[in-house]
Amino acid sequence: MATDYTPGELMVAAAAREIYDGEVVFVGMRLPLLAFCVAKELHAPAAYGLFESGVIRDRAAPVMPYTMCDPPNIAGAAACTPMATVMSLLQRGDVDLGFIGGAETDRYGNLNTSYIGNPEHPTVKLPGSGGAADIACLARRLVVIMPHERRRFRERVDYVTSPGFGEGAGWRERTGVVGGGPSALITTLGVFEFDSSTRKAVLRSIHPHTTVAHLREETGGILEIPDQGPVTAEPTTDELSIIRRYDPTGFWTGAQ
């Protein structure tokens, strides 16, 4: 076990463990991309990474790109296709896992990255979906990574950019949303999973160095936080050495 790591590094290690060998993964940038690097080197050497620009990689890029179109992410790619190819794979059910982030969420894992407030007169205009709505609708499993702050945990999100389990059990089936929905929510304070009958987020593990009181305060009462629960496994020295090789200055994982 390592003793000295940042919350960002802990989240990357937790995200990497969501990737299984041989899976086709819609990766995304930042922390999920680092998680893909870790998984490829440690326990998922046969995984493929897909990017919505159309890039498909069977190995991590030699340097951590800022965007999926940075030249190092294209050179040596397994394939460079149009977006239509990777979105077709997603829609036909060939993508096992997708990662996305969110500005705010609710107990059913619905995510908003579009408008804070009324979309007609928003107080904040966020950038929008990008490919997030597609990944949330269509990937067989969805893992959400976001900061854990009280203002981000809402009774209802103001706008559903990327659906989780909608209004609860049976909603995805009724609505025709064919992907499997969120399987994990990894935050700066803990890891949540979604109850198979109620579809509500429930705590899987609390991060080390986090108190139950703090977790409750930042969750704002929309989720029940038990008095005791498992603690998220700390990043191993192997995981940390890979993360730090790809992120030597802590640019991505230093201050989460």
Binding site: S53, T81, G130, C137, T161, V177
Partner: protein, 304 residues
Amino acid sequence: MSKLMTMHDAISQLVPSGVSVVMGTGLEGLIPFAAGHEMIRQHKRDLTLMGPISDILFDQLIGAGCAERVVAAWVGNVSAGLGHCYRRAVERGEPRPIEVYDHSNFTFSLALQAAAQGVPYLPTRTALGTDLLKTNPGLSVISSPYDDAPLVAVEAVEPDVAFIPVQRADDEGGAHCWGALGVTPEACLASRTVVLVAEEIVDHEVIVSDPNRVLTPPFRVAAVVHEPLGSHPSPVQGHYGRDHAFYEEYHLASRTPEGFERWLDEWVMSVDERSGYLEKLGPERLAALRSGTRRLAAEVDYGY
């Protein structure tokens, strides 16, 4: 017949105020900044900006007051955060109100594919259960005629003009493009007028030596603009990398309307054309975006 034009003439002749323009079809690479900046200099107004994502180019056009509508999946600054001009326009109507049609990347691609195929819409399973259905009149839920499954009918989007950066083109519109293509193939077929922005102009024989790499049928191309470094600060594979610092500098400068005006004056309004912009950047900064390492693909034999 040569289709070569200067960027100035392409914008003045092919982009009247009020038209729709698709840009950024390669996502974070191959963004036609030189074209967008010329639209700003020529004071184009009431444009509809179309694209899957826009990594700061739409933010600049919105801040300059050129846009009345955005049809896109994402507008902001990919490495630095939110788009400040986009926020001011949507939240406060400054410098003018804009209308937003919210897409996802996939629905935007499908909207172009529908136009490319000449059909009014294409069905998909994405976007069901999202609020995109409420803020985009071009997304409607229908029922499959074959199995009654709910689907989203994505209305065709037919841009008036497309600006498509490519590594090399001949003067007739044959072009080779490589790297992440994003929605570029469908954008080239969907748009009424296609303008290529080429890093390099090459002989026709170079293009036909590798027909599998040709981006779109040359007869679909209306004009070819030779504009080296025309996509800076976005990357062009084999030519230059992404100037990350430029995005960060823009992000900081555009936090306030005054800061944005100063940025716009310095980088767009007070330079006559792209060469002035490149002079301002300076040879050292540009050289640093290119490692010098070539990575050539294996040869392809078309012999018979």
